[in-house]
Amino acid sequence: MNFSIYDFTSFNQWIDKFLNDNLNPFWAVVVELTIIGLVVLLFYALVGLFLVYAERKVCAFMQNRVGPNRVGPYGIFQTIADLFKLLMKELIHIKSADTFLFNIAPFIVIIASFMAIAAIPFAKGLHAIDFDIGILYVIAVSSLGVVGVLLAGWSSNNKYSLIGAMRSGAQIVSYELSVGLSLLTIIVLAGTMQFSQIVEGQANGWFLFKGHIPAFVAFVIFLIASTAETNRGPFDLAEAESELTAGFHTEYSGIKFAFFFLAEYMNMFIVASIAATVFLGGWMPFHVGGWEGFNRVMDFIPPLFWYFGKTAFIIFLMMWFKWTFPRLRIDQLLTLEWKYLLPINLVNILIMAFVVLMGWHF
């Protein structure tokens, strides 16, 4: 029995063995599922709270302010105070709204982001489930969220909400293509859709560096498209505060609004993790093929640290976009996707396939 922070496989096997020794197989599975559920839920809440705090501090930093600093040291308990407040706030029922859909919409949004977390590998052996079609699963599940957004906008019976939801629908349907195609570029290179194998494939260099220019182009497109897919600035047309007051969640209050708020940050975390995993090697330390000594030194840093470092870097990039750029207009947004990103992407895949066929990659 040896646990290490470099490999969680033995730890998982130990738990599995312990449960199977003491319970019958059915109950062992039930207990395992419960544990995973609780851990993911806890992780979800913690990451959400931390990201909200991080965003406030990052935007304060960019705007020459200090940000929250009264609630706990450096204001770290600020988001917890927000959470308490939102939990205790009145939930307004709107007479003219479609009550059932109105109530269910925030849950759809949050479940979609919740499900996507399951497939993400945080470290060796540390993932809820390792699908052989992991990437397909994550793309499929994360785009479910738009159903919630559309329902929220439609059922609120508010014109601002409806415009916001329609914009969001058009936006996600379009940008989903770019997200999928840019990931497909890497799948061509990796030859697999399974997250664990993609990560293993980067043991002697991240795909961003291995795949020549096509991988880099795919990375940039993925960053743009995923920022758009999470409805964050400069693509936050669905909320568009200066145009549509609060967009699709104009009529939501209290904890239901908090769900939308949290889901936005979790979606950001999910796309950042995918980008980190697919392009930057996930938990795989920075390796250069052939430099054994260097690779050893890098291996010394725990994989969890690598993983969260990369994700945080991409999240910081996305926050940087949001606080720097003005917002696009809806037609420009769609022009950008259909006239620029999509054709570039298609050509990019062809080039990548050619590179892989000729074996030009590293």
């Binding site: 940000g67 105070a81 308490f84 939102l86 706030k89 007051t245």
Partner: protein, 179 residues
């Protein structure tokens, strides 16, 4: 500002001394802590005071420090409505409606002379509501024409102080006591 400075009278805290159930008071303390440290204002300004409210939110004064960062444009998600500027007869029903649209608990800060009493537009005019408390209940009055950002910050601190006295059993107790 040190705590003692904005707590220049003890009246409010005296009310809390009456005691209560240990479970309820603990939960009260938690909820009040959350509420008082996360007051999201509504993006609402009618005139000059609005500019000072913007200045309060900006780099130098930065009331995000107190957790008042997230300006919500939708009244459903806001906690406090800072009435910054004159309210006229045509605006009064709109303001009332905005207040009704907000979800409980909701607070009102009357910022500036116009919102407190009509201010410079008290006499000889036909279209001004003389004090926003004719329309909606006000928690904190911030005088000045317009009040300095520091004054608004002080007002917000007083509101936080007031929220900390709320109890679950009788949420409006503070209001009665301080009346």
């Amino acid at each position: 500002m040190k705590e003692g400075d904005f707590r220049d009278n003890e009246t409010l805290e005296l009310f809390k001394k009456s005691g209560g159930n240990i479970l309820l008071t603990t939960i009260d303390a938690m909820i009040d802590w959350g509420r008082s440290n996360s007051i999201w204002p509504l993006t609402f300004a009618t005139s000059c005071c609005g500019i000072e409210m913007m200045a309060t939110g900006a780099s130098r004064h930065d009331f995000a420090r107190f957790g008042i960062e997230v300006y919500r444009a939708s009244p459903r998600q806001a906690d406090v409505i800072v009435v910054a500027g004159t309210i006229v007869n045509k605006m009064a029903p709109v303001l009332k409606r905005l207040y009704d649209q907000m979800s409980d608990p909701k607070y009102v800060i009357a910022m500036g002379a116009c919102a407190v009493s009509g201010g410079p537009f008290f006499y000889n005019t036909y279209h001004v509501v003389r004090g926003v408390d004719h329309v909606i209940p006000v928690d904190v009055y911030v005088p000045g024409c317009p009040p300095r950002p520091e004054a608004l910050l002080y007002g917000v601190m007083q509101l936080q102080r007031k929220i900390k006295l709320e109890t679950m059993g009788d949420p409006r107790k503070t209001e009665e006591l301080t009346r």
